[in-house]
């Protein structure tokens, strides 16, 4: 049920990947593992869309390229992503774009792997957003390098000991996968890659105006937390009153009845949380709701 993370990774590191970990079953996700241990099922990339070409006769399959300071991502978008394919085809190149997409690996012969990205979402962005993304990707790459260094210090690199140092679980798993697959990972090469990306920003940075820190948007207190309209809350409350015995009513039963009444689980849960916040219902024991 866990949603796959959108990794921040430079094109060069991504294209260096020669390891794909395939999921067992149909629904099991597959991952492209980079030499720095990014365990990628989904990526978030921002760069320059340099070209788009039709590679099928009906024009339903597009190949595009997105460039960052280190290299080029190859993007394939087809008829199974009609919205994205359409959006992509409407962009005039060159343009700054942000793409969220799934990792793809193609292995024409053993040991030779071509990685690409199948987009889920694409939008045009401004240069500032692109530059911000370069910095973010530098930070994430740096964290992978540091985690890799820590892992290599262990006599028997393993996920558990690495996780204890405070790194995210997925990264630890990716790093252990990478250590097993890639021989003599050249970390200095990736440190240089980050420097390269940062230096790319320096001349641009000179011209950039100083940006104000943050723009505050805060909700007015009068409408505080009013996410669920009162009507739904009232309906949920009526349902609880209907069902409850002196000891309250199990959570599951409320959700089930709400469902029957046409309130989906999301809404019902929101309403319950809100009712609890207001002190109208509360939880006398684990998983049991009771009106006050």
């Amino acid at each position: 049920m866990r949603r796959e993370i959108a990794w921040r990774v430079f094109a060069d590191e991504y294209n260096d990947a020669t390891l794909e970990v395939k999921g067992g079953g149909e629904k099991e996700p597959s991952y492209v593992i980079t030499p720095l241990g990014a365990k990628i099922n989904r990526v978030f990339i921002v760069g320059v869309l340099t070209d788009i070409e039709n590679i099928s006769e009906e024009g339903k399959m597009l190949r595009a390229h997105v460039s960052d300071p280190t290299g080029v991502f190859t993007i394939y978008s087809g008829k199974y992503q009609p919205d994205v394919t359409k959006k992509l085809s409407e962009i005039d190149t060159p343009a700054f774009v942000a793409i969220t997409g799934k990792s793809r690996a193609f292995e024409p012969e053993k040991g030779v792997i071509y990685v690409s990205v199948r987009p889920e979402n694409v939008c045009e962005v401004d240069e500032k957003t692109r530059n911000f993304h370069i910095l973010e990707t530098c930070k994430h790459t740096l964290e992978r390098i540091e985690a890799m260094q820590e892992a290599l210090k262990l006599s028997q690199p393993n996920v558990y000991d690495l996780q204890k140092l405070g790194y995210p679980k997925e990264l630890c798993e990716g790093i252990i996968n990478a250590i097993k697959h890639y021989r003599n990972i050249d970390l200095q090469r990736y440190i240089d890659l980050i420097s390269e990306a940062l230096n790319y920003l320096i001349p641009l940075g000179e011209e950039l105006p100083v940006i104000e820190k943050t723009e505050m948007i805060e909700e007015t207190p009068t409408v505080n937390e009013k996410i669920v309209p009162d009507e739904i809350e009232n309906m949920v409350l009526e349902i609880i009153k209907d069902l409850e015995s002196e000891n309250g009513v199990p959570w599951d039963m409320i959700i089930e009845k709400c469902n029957e009444a046409g309130i989906n689980k999301d809404l019902a849960e929101e309403a319950l949380v809100s009712l609890m916040d207001k002190g109208i219902v509360f939880e006398p024991s684990l998983g049991v709701i009771k009106t006050t």
């Binding site: 866990r2 921002v46 979402n121 558990y160 000991d161 440190i191 000179e206 939880e283 684990l286």
Partner: protein
């Protein structure tokens, strides 16, 4: 972190194999030991406790060959369950079963791995605080976790076993409270307190609940005893245990716990806890958190929606599923996926916040919507997609992962030049440390 914590798994396995001696290879292989140890550690059992438990499991020939299970290992529908645990709470309850009045007992039981609810279908003379050995119990699913049931064929005996981790008091900060922790001690400020009357086993009882906080974050509390806690006071609460509701930790305590009022200087400030998203997802939920990430998806159901005035259902083509064609009420919301490269959560942005982010009120958006439904969604996409934002709100766990109900949203912007310089410096440091 102690030096033991830093020891690697292999050395711990060595300790265990030494302790078990000739049992290795006969009753258990080193591989199996390693797997079990890994499992305990994944469950967050401290290494020393995990080792003790494994050594006890294979090392002693007591309990006539009955294999004891850890509570955390139990599945929601298991029979013939044998466990040892400390009773954390036990309460009687009158129920009617097939027209007959019956007195049953329910409560919470803990071992070194977790805390689970139990129901005893007859009187086993179970007392709070007691360590009991339970033979031939069964489990039922309850809220997605197993609930232990002690029935007609179950044996419940007092045990002299020491259950590590269930008695010694653990000092912790609010952000360390997590479901399953027992015997915690915490110094926290009471941010709010309310009282309620509830029925417990046919008797009216007052319960006090609210929010506690320290400099690491906020959590809910429930007290089954009147400690005369007042808003703004700082108290040291000793002996409580933690359950969670939708992933939000809830400290629960009663008259057997100790509550001391402290100087309000003990808690200098109450902060909103900042999380990286993987940490929040791992934790499940929390009250009042702050996170940052990029908006990588605008989900269906975002934008202007029209609700039935009678039942609040969202209308499709101007029609309510129940009430047919009605004059709908307009509402607005945005549902997004926020991702920081380490984890992802859903964020629900209510009408007022969405209006502010889009810099348009619902009336203006309504006009756009009436021209074309897509126009509002395009506006949301253009405003939010790929942008980095900071979100403050309550994080709740549900079947889809973690959802934050946004209370506050800021755009995150940085000084690119300054940040570039700072990172270049950092890279140089990594570079030199790597070369040496």
């Amino acid at each position: 972190m102690t030096s033991n914590d830093n020891k690697e798994i292999s050395s711990h396995i060595e300790d265990i194999t030494k302790a078990l001696g000739d049992k290795i290879g006969k009753e258990v292989t080193v591989d199996e030991l390693e797997k079990q140890l890994q499992k305990f550690l994944e469950y967050g059992v401290p290494i020393q406790q995990a080792k003790k438990t494994i050594i006890r499991k294979y090392g002693s020939d007591t309990s006539a060959g009955i294999k004891r299970k850890l509570l955390k290992e139990l599945k929601p529908s298991e029979s013939n369950v044998n466990i040892i645990g400390r009773v954390i709470t036990v309460n009687p309850k009158e129920i009617e079963l097939k027209g007959e009045k019956k007195r049953i007992f329910y409560g919470m039981i803990a071992d070194e791995s977790t805390v689970l609810p139990f129901t005893a279908w007859r009187d086993f003379n179970i007392e709070k605080g007691q360590v009991i050995q339970v033979t031939n119990a069964y489990t039922k699913p309850w809220q997605g976790i197993p609930q232990l049931n002690f029935g007609e064929y179950t044996k419940v005996e007092p045990s002299k076993e020491e259950i590590p981790g269930t008695q010694e008091i653990k000092r912790c900060k609010v952000d360390e409270l997590k479901s399953g922790l027992g015997s915690v001690e915490i110094v926290a400020k009471i941010l709010s307190v309310k009282e309620k009357e509830v029925d417990v086993g046919g008797k009216k009882k007052k319960v006090y609940f609210g929010i506690i906080a320290d400099e690491t974050g906020k959590a809910q509390f429930t007290s089954w005893h009147d400690f005369n806690l007042k808003e703004g006071e700082v108290a040291r609460i000793t002996g409580g245990y933690v359950k969670s509701w939708r992933g939000i930790p809830q400290l629960t305590f009663d008259e057997k716990c100790k509550v001391e009022k402290m100087s309000s200087k003990e808690i200098k400030e109450v902060n909103i806890k900042k999380y990286r998203l993987w940490e929040l997802v791992e934790k499940g939920g929390a009250l009042d958190v702050e996170v940052e990430g990029n908006v990588i998806e605008i989900k269906d159901g975002s934008g202007v929606i029209v609700r039935c005035p009678q039942c609040n259902r969202v209308l499709f083509d101007g029609k309510c599923k129940i009430h047919g064609s009605v004059k709908g009420i307009y509402d607005l919301r945005a549902k997004i996926v926020l991702d920081d490269g380490t984890g992802a959560v859903n964020v629900i942005i209510n009408r007022a916040l969405t209006e502010k982010i889009l810099d348009k009120n619902l009336d203006e958006l309504k006009k756009l919507y009436d021209e074309s439904e897509d126009k509002v969604n395009d506006l949301i996409r253009d405003t939010l997609l790929a942008k980095k934002i900071k979100v403050v709100g309550n994080a709740l766990r549900n079947g889809f992962g973690t959802t934050i109900l946004a209370r506050k949203i800021d755009k995150v912007e940085i000084d690119i030049k300054e940040e570039t310089k700072r990172l270049l410096q950092e890279v140089r440091e990594v570079s030199t440390s790597y070369e040496t």
